[in-house]
């Protein structure tokens, strides 16, 4: 009797000693995780040599490949802000009154080179460090649209038409600030998912370890949503027939709305959208300006990223409002300048 009990204890001992939190056969699961998706992908690849599927895969992969360096830059920056920059820096740099902090943060978007994927994690870590959400959102919206790289590529895409660059700069800044003020007026904190990660530097922890784990977490998080957005963008890219594009070019109002919708669905990165806009030569300049103002602020990839970072309740309301504000701003500024 005593013996059997001992044996039973012995038998259960190895499982007791296994470290909590890991599944029992984790090396096996690991192998499965590494091999199964690859095998599935391989089979899908072989069975679907259809040109449409291949084009879809190429476009989806190219959106990811293009975005990853900028996203790494953004997440590294957000990890660094979290671990190294004390919250007091931002309270000193930004005006005390939120209504004044909004335009300052919007104009600060000039310093973050890259496209829109970089700005979401940075805005999130700014909120985590006590920056008023309205100012962080103004930065989030303006950074991808007004940085020097994007403005230069706009000037190259529209040779001999500097007013296009100016209109894009002014309309984007105006829309970003308008959204910041709108958030101050109507926004509710409870739409935002509580910022769980960005706790700043904790005494007793290594800053480098905090930086690394924040960087890694943000990249995996945002990267997953980037893939969702890339798949959606590739689907629209391959599925929207070009004849539809021409059908809308004639009507002034429809063309503005249509190009705004196209900017949201195609999710072209903000460094390239000027070239796409330039190629849509059947459309009015105002409609093309709308394409360039809406694109960096709202698109399927960004909606997926924002839903992942700030929560779905926020992403839906914010994207809808931004679309309307961006269209109104580009029509107003385009009407004056173009």
């Amino acid at each position: 009797m005593q013996e059997t009990q001992d044996r039973a204890q012995d038998a259960s001992a190895p499982t007791m000693r296994a470290r909590p939190g890991w599944p029992r056969h984790w090396p096996l699961l690991l192998l499965g995780a590494a091999v199964l998706p690859g095998a599935a992908l391989y089979l899908v690849g072989w069975s679907a040599e259809l040109p449409a599927i291949q084009a879809w895969r190429t476009v989806a992969l190219s959106v990811v490949v293009q975005a990853v360096p900028f996203m790494l830059l953004g997440t590294a920056l957000s990890g660094a802000i979290n671990a190294f920059v004390p919250a007091s820096v931002f309270t000193r740099l930004l005006p005390k009154r939120p209504a004044l902090a909004v335009p300052v943060a919007g104009a600060a978007g000039v310093v973050l080179p890259g496209c829109e994927c970089a700005s979401v994690p940075v805005a999130n870590s700014l909120i985590g460090r006590g920056v008023t959400p309205a100012a962080a959102f103004a930065f989030l919206l303006s950074a991808p649209a007004v940085n020097p790289i994007v403005l230069t590529s706009t000037a190259i895409a529209f040779p001999g038409r500097p007013e296009m660059v100016l209109a894009r700069l002014v309309a984007s800044l105006l829309a970003a600030c308008a959204m910041g003020w709108l958030w101050l007026w109507l926004g509710k904190e409870e739409w935002l998912r509580p910022a769980v990660r960005h706790t700043g530097h904790q005494p007793g922890h290594s800053r480098w370890a905090e930086f690394r784990s924040g960087f890694q977490h943000d990249f995996l998080h945002a990267g997953g949503f980037l893939v969702v957005g890339a798949l959606a963008a590739a689907t629209f890219n391959v599925a929207v027939p070009p004849s539809v594009v021409d059908a809308f070019a004639d009507s002034a109002w429809l063309s503005v709305l249509f190009l705004a919708a196209l900017a949201i669905l195609l999710a072209v990165c903000s460094e390239a959208d000027a070239f796409v806009a330039a190629s849509l030569s059947g459309f009015s300049p105002v409609a093309r300006l709308t394409f360039m103002v809406v694109g960096p602020m709202v698109d399927v990839k960004l909606i997926a990223l924002q839903a992942g970072t700030f929560g779905r309740a926020f992403a839906v309301r914010f994207s809808a409002a931004t679309t309307v504000v961006a269209i109104v701003c580009s029509v107003l500024i385009g009407g004056v300048l173009l």
């Binding site: 939190g21 690859g38 992908l41 790494l72 690394r212 995996l220 997953g224 460094e271 070239f275």
Partner: protein, 238 residues
Amino acid sequence: MKRPVQVVLLVLSGLGLLQVSLFTDLFLRYVKPGMRPLLIASGAVLLALGLAEARAVYRRTRHDEAHPPPHVAWLLFLPALSLLLYAPPALGAYTAAREAPRVVETQDARDEDFDPLPATSPLPITLGDFTRRVQQDRTQAIKGRTVEMTGFVTPAGEDGSWYLTRLLISCCAADVQSVKVRVYGVAAPKADTWVSVTGTWHPGGTLGTSSARVALDVRTVSEVERPSNSYMDALPLG
């Protein structure tokens, strides 16, 4: 997502990026050549992150497990494995057939923008230059000249003609645009074949105005190798 899985994901993503940018030039199927240093740096950073995490896991460093990355991070395995195992080909005839040909800037083309053509025959020329010569050069220098161009084959459907095609990107393959020259006189080779053709302008409309048709009466067609960077409008080699 457990920490060992994160290690594998980060390492695979890093290796995938290095595979297409450092060890091969497959990245040219997706983005511009200028992205190469950024992609190599990104691959190295991801690899370093993965190795650092592996070290932390090995040393069993405490790590707050309260907020692991969401399940959506699993999707990152798709691009990572796709880059490593089965990189999809560059865009080709399927995309070109759907794209309207790129509109060549017409506003400022003056006669002095067009230098006299060199006397070599056949004259190597890009598809974009040929289009501009046909539709904008009022001196009609292209008239009667034998030109040589390289591109890939896009079937046109009716009457046995086809398009000699190049695709151009300005950032990544999502913003692709096409230049096409309609080809007459030779049966269409298989779609997506890269060919070098020689021939003369196929009359239609008034040469030197936008009414002129961008088309070629072809004399010879020879198969050539697909260039590693297919997204540019380059002169024929040799």
